[in-house]
């Protein structure tokens, strides 16, 4: 195994560990997000985004991290909108997302294994039937577009706005949970 793959394995172990610690290997807990009874998904996801976003921002400013060498996902507006809607529908039906289904299955949950199998079949069939989808898949390409590029606002301002939005949303999440 190469160094890069060893790193992948170690990072994956840490990823799986934190997901399980948070309770994200349990489908009814994740589903609670969509009935406003349990905001664990939102809280974990956005505290992770805020942490990594602030870390990347400051490490880049201090010259420790070269952001141009970190892979930036590419933007394809229509496929990501349509794919996102379908993905979200699948998420609430399955109760798990692809990463958390692996944790659920690893901890003995049969439903997690079936989500993994469904995910695999969905990707396999879509890949095999890719030819007619290709035009849509490659439509509305915007390259590695970022929110600061899109909004013409400095990187640091968007970072601060995301932090402020997340902190506000955490307050609301807490209030809604207490009411549930």
């Amino acid at each position: 195994m190469t160094d890069s793959l060893a790193v992948a394995l170690v990072i994956g172990i840490a990823f799986g560990w934190t997901l399980e610690r948070a309770g994200l290997g349990s489908a009814p807990k994740l589903a609670g997000q969509f009935y406003l009874t349990d905001f664990t998904v939102f809280k974990v996801m956005f505290s992770a985004i805020v942490t990594a976003m602030l870390g990347a921002f400051w490490l880049a400013r201090l010259g420790v991290l070269d952001l141009s060498r970190v892979y930036m996902p590419e933007t394809y507006l229509a496929p990501q909108l349509a794919g996102g809607l379908l993905f979200g529908a699948g998420f609430v039906i399955a109760g798990l997302c692809p990463g958390t289904s692996c944790v659920a299955a690893a901890t003995g949950r049969g439903d997690g294994a079936l989500v993994m199998l469904g995910m695999f079949c969905g990707v396999l069939v879509t890949g095999l039937a890719f030819a007619p989808l290709r035009r849509f898949y490659e439509s509305t390409a915007r390259g590695p577009l970022t929110l600061p590029d899109l909004l013409h606002v400095p990187y640091g301002v968007v970072v601060a706005a995301v932090v402020a939005m997340a902190l506000t949303a955490f307050q609301f999440a807490g209030r809604l949970e207490r009411r549930a």
């Binding site: 990072i11 994956g12 974990v44 996102g84 692809p98 079936l114 989500v115 079949c121 990707v123 890949g127």
Partner: protein, 212 residues
Amino acid sequence: MMGTRSRGLAVSGSRGGSNPWFRGFAVSGSRGENTAQPRNRETPRPRPYADPYIAGTGLGLVLLAAFVIAGRGLGASGAFASGAAGVVAAASPARAAANPYFARYLAGDGPWHEWLLLEIAGVVIGGFLSALAAGRLRAAIERGPGIGRGSRLANAFAGGSAMGVGAVLARGCTSGLALTGGALLSAGSWLFMMAAFAGAYLVAPIVKRAWR
């Protein structure tokens, strides 16, 4: 190893038996009340989950470490795509090479040496070890109170399939696109994230019986 109790393996409803690995490894249809399991004399109660903000901060640090060490973020759906490419290539190498979606995974060391596949193998190991340490390993089909096991498994498969199609179209899932791209402020990632939450909230009332 034999004869010693494996602390933390068992959670609820001990089934007895002499094998310490399977004693107390209950097969039950859990309703997801992790902390409300009946306490068993032999089996310790599972530890409660971590605070979501602490776990989320930890997850953010793992993601940041991936940026710094590997120059890329986390992912999950890419591992499924890589595995699917590997299966297609094993069944029909010509077909895989001619397929524009799978062909990209056949470059380099091949689909079974893909970074995300190893990362997901790590997720399985890490999730297992965490649950083992916290006494949360349990063979169960987790479901809402109003749904049978068969329906729950059918939903799990159907929902998984829909996510598979969606993740191919969007070029990622909650890990690689929403979490990783979200932290990097990718416009497409934020669009995907909002679309996914919208899709889930739109469908939630329709599948309410499965969870409430």
